[in-house]
Symmetry: D3
Subunit: 134 residues, 6 copies
């Protein structure tokens, strides 16, 4: 159940078709997942969102592609975004995430979740030593 | 301003001293940051928390130490934990995070923050292809 | 699947019936959605919650009814409240939200989600110019 | 630094004075904390908010007053609400929260923060046994 | 739908069997809920997580068992953790939570959710009186 | 206190100068707030972020400029982003937000915060009537 109808035959719109073609070319796969299919209800939003994700996740940068997927998962878990968790966990596996790495990811994000609670509770002053200017 | 008083002379308690000694030995530094100083108000909580963090962050595992710090930062940002963000950003820098890596981290976590909102809005059904059992 | 049983024949309780009658009169519709049906398990909580929502959402005020629904959606997305997102998106459509407005809403809340992450990361000092007293 | 100016001489407004008088009578104290002082910028919002908090926190109910404060703290920590954490931690201490109870509270909310992350990650199907109707 | 496959015959692994035996003994029940069944994909993570939860929730401490479950629910609601909400609501009922207590819990956590929003909006300075050192 | 040093003389970099010039032209003001000043530590991130915010907030669209600021505030409150709350509240005032509108905004976002908690607790099934396809 979704808040918008799945657009019928979205590639009849040339702007949508251009984005979908770019998704297929970037991923070297014919599969278009539901996120992009539903977002086709507004071609401009589809274009902007795909460009934003592609420029960060599909372009070589300081962090390697798997690390970027792990970070994406970490944020999506914390925001309780069900779809995002599923799609980026699948993407991480496709980029080499083993069960051992996944368990380690869970270990770190759950430890962070634990100490975040303690520190948001105690409201401890930040050490001057952590100041970027010192 | 904090919800508990900074304990005075916490190392007079041998359980606290043992934890602080282990922190110093693990980090090869005399610096004890405020988190542990304040947590000394309850030696059992201090012990459990330090053991939990140490076993995940200071022991070699599938993920390298810098990646673990980046994940810790990602969760702390999303939970809006000011102290955690500061302490783990400092830790990440100490483990080799350059400004270029930091900018890349910000790019990924902000892109995740962006699409998390869209997907928590549209409530799109998860693709069967993402199912771990398929 | 819910944490409480759907009350059977809730309008047998006159306090529940009075709230449901008011919901029907306020909305000019016979439809009572699941939120209120389930909440009938505790008539006092039902009364307080309906009064709170009605006094804010169904009474004319500085903001127009559609804007109030859009704000409600924005908060519900960010809190990852699935039911709330669905019910208030439906309400917004009933009050005139077009697909074009919906896409614009998604653009704003996702941009906010993006920069919120950057600013919760960098922990920038607030400009004095933003101070209400200056 | 706040988004609204601290109202000057707020009790010149009789609606504000009535609320402040009720706060003082309910708490048996002359102290009015900043929340109510700032909220006086809009007397209607002040009235509604105080009535809502008072009816839940200052009226005897199934849960005892200290437990209610602990629950308030737990939510405020998780929402990273700095002011709320401080004011309700102070209120809990006034109602009998010892350091031992506080440490126990931190233990529970941090354990919840930890497993919430794991479960929001793995997206495990809810056991039928937890269904309220079974 | 989950991000990991439900392990088949997990108790063939002696580390998993030891944890499951301890869960059954601690709870005096043969029922192992899905959380632990899925977590068996990584025996070390299963062990650590169970030890952490058990030491906080199943060992007598300053707070009584029901209050600890209520706090767990409060955090899980605020983090929008569907599974956690269901499992700990069921646990709270098993430990004596009546519908009356549940309604009171909902009253407190929703009031906190309400004022958290106002205070995160207005960014009011914390009263000095709330300072732990004063 | 911030996680990055405020860049000195950032406009010596022509990419930074171009963004700052565009900010000044778009806003018809010489004031550059701290967000952009700090973000200048990475000119590419500065460019992308400014383009993203500008294209949504400074370009005419279905929603009027004030409504967009109110939505931005609503998300920022819920994410507990202190800087974002301050900067967008100031922006909303500059675009015509009166105290009366602000109080109404607080009423709506706090009511949403309240019912979000109840619904994330009870986990009520979404009414079929809310389905976009029906």
């Amino acid at each position: 159940m979704s808040t918008i109808k799945l657009p019928e035959n979205p590639e009849a719109n040339p702007r949508v078709k251009a984005v979908f073609d770019d998704i297929r070319a970037t991923r070297k796969s014919d599969f278009i997942n539901n996120f992009w299919l539903y977002l086709a209800f507004d071609p401009a939003l589809l274009e902007e969102t795909w460009q934003g994700v592609k420029s960060v996740m599909a372009v070589p940068s300081a962090l390697d592609p798997l690390t970027k997927e792990l970070l994406y998962i970490a944020v999506s878990i914390t925001n309780s975004c069900r779809y995002c968790v599923h799609s980026h966990t699948a993407a991480a596996r496709a980029k080499g995430m083993t069960d051992e790495i996944y368990a380690d990811l869970l270990r770190v994000v759950s430890t962070a979740g634990r100490t975040n609670q303690i520190l948001n509770a105690i409201q401890i002053p930040v050490d001057e030593k952590f100041e970027a200017d010192t």
